[in-house]
Amino acid sequence: MNHDYSGIFSNYAGLEGDLIPILQQVQLKFGYISTQSTKEISKFLKISENQIYGVASFYSQFRFTKPGRHSIKICMGTACHVKGGQILSEAIERELDVIAGESTKDGRFDFHRVACLGCCALAPVVQINDDIYSQMTVIKLQEILGKYE
């Protein structure tokens, strides 16, 4: 077995209940859940790849494509919606030619629309990597995107 995986699996007993934490650790390490990952997890937990994909695809946290160098999350929570989150989301899609849930062709950004980031009082909010930008506007967004190469 690949060492990358044995390191993760060694922390778990191999029970069905370990599936989601293992998926989370795998995603943390590789950035996404690849076909290879699913195969390795299947061997370890002794459950089918189908079942693993079924569980993983149920939850919005898991992604199945390689992430970009920078990750953009746009908050689609209520407060952000009321303050124009949708318009910001469209601006990102337009500026970067990317569809929500996918990465740009040059691998510079991946883009996700997420449920509430929990800083509603600062709406609308955009998160790029670990930086949170509050009270965003389309104009501010254009400036900020240039900071990430």
């Binding site: 029970l15 069905e16 209940g17 370990d18 599936l19 989601i20 934490p21 998926l23 989370q24 079924g54 569980v55 149920f58 939850y59 919005s60 946290q61 898991f62 689609m76 929570g77 209520t78 407060a79 952000c80 919606h81 009321v82 124009g84 318009i87 469209e90 601006a91 337009r94 500026e95 997420v114 449920a115 509430c116 980031l117 929990g118 800083c119 509603c120 009082a121 600062l122 709406a123 909010v125 949170i132 509050s134 506007t137 389309v138 104009i139 254009q142």
Partner: protein, 629 residues
Amino acid sequence: MNNFEQIKKKALDKWDSLIHSDIPVIYLGAASCGKAAGANKVLEIIIETLDEHKLKAKIIQVGCIGPCYLEPLMDIVVPGQPRISYANVDEIKTKRIIESYLLKNDPLLKFAVGHFGGEDKQLTNGLPKFFDLPMLKPQVRIVLRNCGYIDPEDIDHYIANDGYEGIKKALEIGPENVINEVKESGIRGRGGAGFPTYKKWEICRNAPGDEKYLICNADEGDPGAFMNRSLIEGDPHAILEGMLISAFALGATHGYIYIRAEYPLAISRLKKAISQMNDYGFLGDNIMNSGFNFHITIKEGAGAFVCGEETALIASIEGKRGMPRSRPPFPAIAGLHGKPTIINNTETLGTMPNIIRNGANWYKQYGTQESHGTKTFSLVGKVRRTGLIEVPMGMSLRQIIFDIGGGTQKPFKAVQTGGPSGGCLSEEFLDIPVDYQSLASAGSIMGSGGLIIMDEDTCVVDVARYFLDFAQKESCGKCTPCRVGTRHMVEILESITKGEASPNVLTKLQTLGETVKRGSLCGLGQTAPNPVLTTLRYFRSEYLAHIKEQHCPATVCRDLLEYRILPDKCTGCQRCVNVCPTGAITGPRSETHNLDASKCIKCRACYEICRFDAIAGDAIVIRSKRSDS
């Protein structure tokens, strides 16, 4: 218990040396919201400024004290003086304040918003007490009492402020008396449904079996709500002590905290707090030498709103798709791995130490006859003072929105209580007391505590569409009314916001909503139509304007709007020409620009630049297509 006395003494000494510190203490609000507002940068500046002048000071990062609109918040205590709070500090202000106060003994009160001192201090010079600020004065802080006050990463701070006295007392009086006290207090589940907490506990306690589980539900999935995040980030030990009390009363030996993976700071604070509890013997086997054993595991939710539902949450912990199942059997009888399981909301658990420590009678003094105690809310949307608040049950919506929140800038239109599962209430309901019964009778719910305020610039049809779209995407797909019904409702609402709906569509929407409500398996589907049903009831004219006149009164629904340049205001500055992504705006410098509506995608870029740029003239307006005629 001797051991606890020793720990407590040490904690009190530590706290005392902080309160009577001989060097200045700087407190920085560093919860997620503070960090989003720039607290990390402020922290760097604090450290830099102290280094630059070789000043000595303690820096303590605290949780959220509530008024998010004042973030980032920095408090400074100079020995012998009261704690002074500075709001909206940025890099420049921070440096100025520290240099002025610590070097020249001038506290620069013009940047201060309040102090935490007693009445007789002269220094504060007309500065109000922090807790006398209009946003804070009407509040009663029970569960939030330590948030923003203590260092959440230091168990000694919690212990010095009566922490772990609740579990100590619980262990002395025994599980039956704990349940009695909780029954007497009248507290009901703070997650939204309002089921009496003691009743759940009693059922689980009496259920046969040695193995029982307690789950803390911190899967705060409501868009627009952040009470649990703030509480965990600001005072993690309160929840953990609450879990100990609850587990002891139920006879549970293992607990889980099911928390959103999107809350990394809250998770790291919980992990730190758990390891500190282990060090002090407050967790594990033979807790406080009482023979009581309890272990806690943190489970990170992977993003599914439906997992706030008890049986879906359990399925998720078991490593399955988070789909609910029909009840009975209720989890209190057969839950996680088929064993009796109690799921309590974070806020319910965070309140427990206070109830047990101070007694049910103390708790009952707050709130109304039927709904005792306090409730936290996240006050957001188009309200002046946004933030996290805690108020006694029974306070009116008007007091919350106008006294605490400072009202809206433009005329008030509606308030959504209970997030996507709640209802949208109009002005005539502002005087109803906020308690479980009153909100339910108005067609809404208490919910977990998101309060979204809308003014006349918010379109209620668009908001209803937004919530339904959310519910539809989060529907797990198991039962047909929810899976198909919400989808149809979204389609109808979309046709209304586009001005393409026929007049009889509202009856259809109403019937569909009632059907989804009645026929769905779990709480998600049973409450999903609430935003639509309440807006249909209280804001019908707004629906009709969209349908009959193709007009959105709030100028939100994009298909019913157009962008225009007012020729007499346009300065010809070309700012909008440069930002327009589709080349819809043209025109030479210094001449009135032209906007080609057929190319305009209504992205708002021109509107913003025209508003914020100094030489532009507020010439671009967004208005209803109808106002043409």
